[in-house]
Symmetry: C2
Subunit: 499 residues, 2 copies
């Protein structure tokens, strides 16, 4: 273990600059004249102490640790012990400590999985949240594996339950408020004690959680999103029957929520189905599956013939996922169809249900504008989707925030490449967990900005951008085939890929 | 024309015996000492006279004409002119006259298509009937082409509207009652004046009816069958939209009602979908499509996996139609899915609706019995399905009454090969247009009789009847693999075919 730590330390030192890391180790183990040794609370191996509780720091992202020290120092994160410590550390020392801890191996799990029902409830909540109250699943930002995203979102696995609980309560009480865009406070204030306790228990035990307890315990009706227009409530996950049909539904849900892992062979970018269909396809005004399922077979002007639901799903893979089309009759399509059917239970066939698709926006008052959109993007989108629109992955490499343009995004054939659709989606659903905070004009502008970037070629490309525009993108809300910043969109499509 | 009539006469004479036909011609054209010339009312060419109205006899089935003369003679068909004429004709003379008229070419149509809206309404009614009042479409027994079936059901096309109207009114009034099993009287008593007039107008003009007027004009809600358990009413045909989607729905309906013509390449027997799913898949307790559509994807024990609706449809072709399976994504499956979807409009997804499938029967009080079943069959089924269970076709060769066993029937893999299913279907739906007249015991017995006959092999045949029985037919209500009348069922399956 020591050897591993040492190797990690050396690599850490190499990557962060040796002066920092060396100093970091001394500060952690011995302290400075002004501060006690960090290890006295956080442990020599950075594992933290559940009894205090203090944080597990080993393996946390260095940038994230620095941000926390900054927060302690400026008071946006209140803590009687850490406040003075952070103030006493110089910027150089903060970086050194952060780099040292980041280099230590993260413990696999903070605690053995014990209280099975609590953990199972936490696992389900971490995955699904409760969108009827506007709460996304934790995994939506912390990653499907809970390993965190860069300096933005901390790894949760391996953290003690006590510490996670204390932090969620601090977010809720407002004693911790250094979260970008107020994302975490907004969510924590909606959580009740039981949810906090179960989620904390889950992440403390993760990933060593018995597979059987995953995704099964949610008994509440996860619904259609707060403040949304739907009147239909799909059945809860707990209603999935425990038989062969239920297995197919669960597979469908897994594919839908974590397409990168469960349908990897058909995916050519960084997206999961639920990036555009929030809450695992349950959310109203976010193209919910329960409203889509009963609408097929239907004629689609996109391909000018009557499409079965299975063919409609193929379209998603071809364009939005920029991938390969699963064959009709394949388990992937069947599972997605079974999951959609399950969610649609009780919904009427052939009826245009409130909450279907995205609510259409009025034409923007001012013409949509790239420059205004860029400002909105930087303020409200870049945090998660990245300054270059290429999204972010979890520490352990799973796609968390989808790429909005470039090689890792949807291709030009996708509906989202049409500003009209993107604006409608954004207005109703973005920023994530803060929907409704953008004006219609802002939604139009930022959608125009996003859709004015290059992305993988339309699979129907005829060989000519002009001709392809005329055939498939011939409208005022398509940027394909137009020149932006001196470059003809569609002419320089990147090779597609999952990055 | 004279020459044609002569040739027809010669062939008629040849087939029916020259003594009869020669005598027939003389009687028709000159009369006898006791009767006037038939031609004085029915015309020299047998075309009938709409002004009287008298029947068009040219091209009618000889057996049917003989039966009518017998009915006039014994008074079961009352007519002041024809009664004395028929009595005055000897049996030999009746046969001669019948053979002569049967040999004359049937006119293409009795009248030019004039009143388009009346004809269109009649065309729709002839096709669909109104099962909400227990009225099947005329085409169900007179054939999709109206050419009639053997001596049992007369050709209607080419008959004058006046004559058809007069006959329907006679059935309704009870002055004509020579119909086998009371089938025609039972139906005519439910018809109103408008229906009688429009149907008569349609058949008088058929087949020279503008294609555009076919299958479009029914504005009533053709519903779920009288006395049935359903609460759901599918939308009327008139609600099929006039666009590309509607075209697909109409194709699906055509395939469903007239599978022999619209999906010929996938059919290996004499059946149409609506033989088991009455009223074009609308009828409750007859496996209606509107109840089936929203139940898929679903796990089926038959093939031990989750089936999409499309795969479920494939199963019908493989077993019930003893045919070839249309590929997933084929127009045939898509059209059937679109038609089902149309009928299910407003029905809830995933809900077991009243009227779905066939109402399960209680276990029969006495064990089902071949000999008792045979009696029921002869009394109530053989008229349409034939003494040998091989069904009947229309005069012009279209399948009308499906074969119940033998080469032209469903194969051993079909659900109907299970006595339990067959009995449930029969009890709820047979005899055609007279459902509810058999007791449960009679339904069990006649189902056992039907399913105790050889039929095409189960496509899953392993090479051994015993093994195939064990794998797929191992229940008390399957006769496959049992010995009946000294023959092992399944061991002598006929080559499949459409006859």
């Amino acid at each position: 273990m020591k050897q591993v730590a040492l190797v990690a330390f050396m690599f850490g030192a190499f990557s962060a600059g040796s002066a920092f890391a060396a100093g970091g180790r001394e500060i952690v183990l011995q302290g400075t004249d002004a501060v006690p040794a960090c290890s006295s609370c956080h442990g020599v191996k950075g594992t933290g102490n559940p009894d205090m509780p203090s944080a597990r720091l080993a393996g946390l992202n260095a940038g994230y640790i620095i941000r926390q020290l900054d927060s302690f120092a400026d008071g946006s994160r209140k803590n009687d012990t850490m406040g003075p410590v952070a103030v006493a550390l110089s910027e150089t020392e903060r970086k050194a400590v952060a780099a040292y801890y980041a280099g230590l191996p993260a413990p696999k799990a903070a605690a053995a999985a014990r209280d099975a029902s609590k953990i199972a409830a936490g696992a389900a909540f971490a995955r699904m949240g409760d969108w009827s109250r506007g709460i996304p699943g934790c995994s939506q930002c912390h990653g499907p594996d809970g390993s965190g995203v860069g300096a933005l979102v901390p790894r949760l696995t391996g953290q003690s339950a006590e510490y996670i609980e204390a932090q969620l309560k601090a977010w809720r009480a407002g004693t911790r408020k250094d979260d970008p865009m107020g994302l975490m406070g907004g969510i924590a204030r909606k959580l009740d004690k039981t949810e906090i306790a179960s989620v904390a228990a889950y992440y403390a035990a993760a990933p060593n959680v018995p597979a059987a307890s995953l995704g099964k315990a949610l008994t509440k009706t996860s619904s259609s999103g707060s403040g949304k227009t739907a009147t239909f409530v799909p059945p809860p996950d707990s209603a999935i029957p425990d038989n062969d049909f239920g297995k197919m539904v669960r597979l469908g849900e897994n594919i839908f929520r974590d397409t990168q892992r469960y349908a990897a062979q058909y995916v050519g970018n960084t997206l999961n189905c639920q990036n555009c269909h929030l809450d695992g396809g349950r959310m109203a005004d976010s193209s919910p599956l329960w409203a889509a399922f009963g609408e097929y077979p239907a004629y689609r002007s996109k391909n000018k013939h009557v499409n079965s639901y299975a063919e409609r799903l193929q379209g998603c893979f071809r364009y939005s996922m920029n991938g390969k089309v699963p064959a009709l009759g394949s388990e992937t399509l069947l599972a997605l169809e079974a999951y959609s059917f399950f969610l649609a239970q009780g919904a009427p066939v052939g009826v245009d249900m409130p909450g279907r698709g995205y609510p259409a926006l009025k034409k923007s008052a001012k013409p949509f504008d790239y420059a205004r959109g860029e400002k909105v993007y930087k303020r409200s989108c870049a945090l998660c989707h990245g300054a270059n629109g290429d999204g972010q992955k979890s520490a352990d490499g799973l796609s968390v925030f989808p790429a909005l343009w470039g090689a890792g995004s949807f291709n030009w054939g996708a509906g989202m490449g049409n500003i009209k659709n993107a604006a409608a989606f954004i207005k109703a659903n973005m920023p994530f967990s803060q929907s409704g905070t953008l004006t219609e004009q802002e939604a139009w502008d930022v959608a125009a900005f996003v859709d004015s970037h290059e992305r993988p070629q339309d699979p129907r490309f005829t060989g000519s951008v002009a001709e392809t525009r005329t055939k498939y993108h011939n409208g005022a809300t398509w940027m394909y085939g137009r020149t932006v910043n001196g470059a003809l969109l569609g002419a320089h499509s990147p090779p597609s890929g999952r990055r």
